[in-house]
Symmetry: C2
Subunit: 324 residues, 2 copies
């Protein structure tokens, strides 16, 4: 199971490779939120999202012979790029299994990073897990799951170590950390890191309306799905339900989930561009949306939110910035 | 005159206030340029541009009694915000003299940062310098010029100290540093810092076509104007000619100027959003445009470019991202 020792080990393997991303702020955002808001700019991580942390952690944790046979990942895009880049930097092959309807940019980027891309049709009922396990058996590669993997969670936890250190440097010892939540890898990793390094803060996962499986699961105390079809604005975080490994961590350490509307997500994206000069994709903006527009659901004090990815489709992003 | 000692002193006064901005890269940009490209993300500085460095340096360098009477600045926008924020953080008043046709966002931001804004009509022949000197005399405030001020240049030089340290950490000891150049404050400050700390690199100022007063002046060996009207895409850097204090520094330390087209600037803005996840305004993207599209004019080796500001008008920015 992932714990602080595994996170610290992942951080040690990441030195000189994974970027320490800045914790940014703007007086204009503070004014909207009515409290200090700090944004953890994971959009500036290699491959444009925090997923490189988990990918690097998992690939670097393999023994040399296993790693040399290569790695497989299935992902709606950001995990794909993170694993592909991590494999390429290690000089080993990668096969990425992606939904056919993923943003074209994410497919192109994954190929450009050196991965072999296998597309599947998620509307047609194909199970990416089955495809991944078949390829793993046939080629002897190692499957790296996007969140239900102790080394991936440990890698995402390095983001939490940075948050703890950066918050301490700012004098922040209590308050809320909001995480953009899909399968729960980032949320679990950050929660485990902060349990050890910043126990005065509460971690709360944030999801888009209609895809609130984590919020529902936390309220029920057991893993539940969201019941919606697998399509929506925040494509990067539309997982069907919390992970088997991640959910017990979330249940033990996190406060109630928060759900934001798509209109709030788009406004958060516009404000991130205007006030932080950062390009944030919809799934990466849900935590900022909660920080800005759901303050009444939070304990008093500062709020730190992850801006977890920036791989928006350019035309779609331009339309959102223009008010669409 | 600004020298490395004055820059180091400015850096010492900036500790804990001015942000150390990251030096970012993307394999996709390296591929376009055909060489390693590093981007100094000054869009992430307080107030969205490097100008906060100079503003903080100048305001913090004043003696207490002088500073308490307040400061005046004239600026097309980014210097205004930098000085206004620096004054506000010191708890002293500021008056900002801005052209009436500056982007509305820059005027609003400057007021929101606590400054009194005085607008003038630059097409009508009003001289901002005359307005500034009159207000300075009447109110006993200190005028902080946008580039012809030794402490402002020292503040911009702190960006050069960071570049030197960050480049050394990456193993970069030779190559080119490209600066977005208006009056030459950032270019001169960086050139002075790198003369002392990274003598193997050559600094080259970059300007937009039609506003190439620095390139023309460097070629002629004397200060020349550009002869164009004061309007264009890159509003932040459309100064009439190099500064009296800055030009001798540029003449002594910088290589020939580079001129980029507006189409190249827009493409650089789109690539900064897509590959670096950064919002860059036109005037802040000229150096990246040169890095990507004018490689044949550069010596071999890596190139470091300033992304000097991100205060683009939102509607205009969205239109450029959409291909406009």
């Amino acid at each position: 199971m992932t714990d602080i020792a595994l996170i610290e080990a992942a951080a040690a393997r990441a030195v000189g490779v994974v970027r320490e991303t800045p914790l940014l702020s703007s007086p204009f955002l503070d004014e909207i939120a009515g409290r200090p808001v700090f944004a953890k700019a994971e959009v500036l991580q290699h491959t444009g999202s925090f997923k490189f942390r988990g990918g690097w952690s998992a690939v670097s944790a393999l023994d040399d012979a296993t790693r040399a046979r290569g790695v497989i990942a299935y992902s709606s895009g950001n995990h794909a790029q993170g694993v592909a880049q991590a494999a390429a930097l290690h000089g080993v092959p990668s096969v990425i299994i992606m939904p056919r309807d993923a943003p074209a940019l994410k497919i192109e980027n994954t190929r450009a990073l050196g991965a072999e891309v296998v597309l599947y049709d998620r509307a047609g009922g194909e199970k990416r897990e089955a495809i991944g396990e078949r390829l793993m058996t046939e080629r002897g590669m190692t499957l790296i799951k996007p969140y239900d993997d102790v080394q991936v969670i440990a890698g995402q936890g390095t983001c939490g170590l940075e948050i703890a250190a950066q918050a301490a440097a700012l004098g922040v010892e209590a308050g809320t950390v909001l995480t953009c939540c899909g399968g729960g890898g980032l949320s679990a990793g950050i929660a485990l890191a902060l349990e050890a390094r910043a126990p005065g803060v509460v971690v709360r996962p944030v999801e888009p309306a209609g895809f609130d499986d984590t919020a529902r699961s936390l309220a029920a105390g057991e893993r539940l799905g969201h019941g919606s079809p697998e399509a929506g604005l925040c494509d990067a975080i539309l997982t069907p339900m919390p992970g088997e490994i991640t959910f017990p961590v979330l249940k033990r350490l996190c406060g109630p989930g928060i759900v934001v509307s798509e209109a709030e997500v788009k406004e958060a994206m516009r404000l991130a561009a205007l006030r932080l000069k950062l390009v944030v994709e919809p799934g990466g903006a849900v935590a900022l949306a909660a920080a800005l527009f759901h303050g009444s659901a939070l304990v008093d004090g500062p709020v730190i939110c992850t801006l977890s990815g920036g791989n928006a489709d350019p035309a779609h992003y331009a339309a959102i910035l223009a008010g669409g």
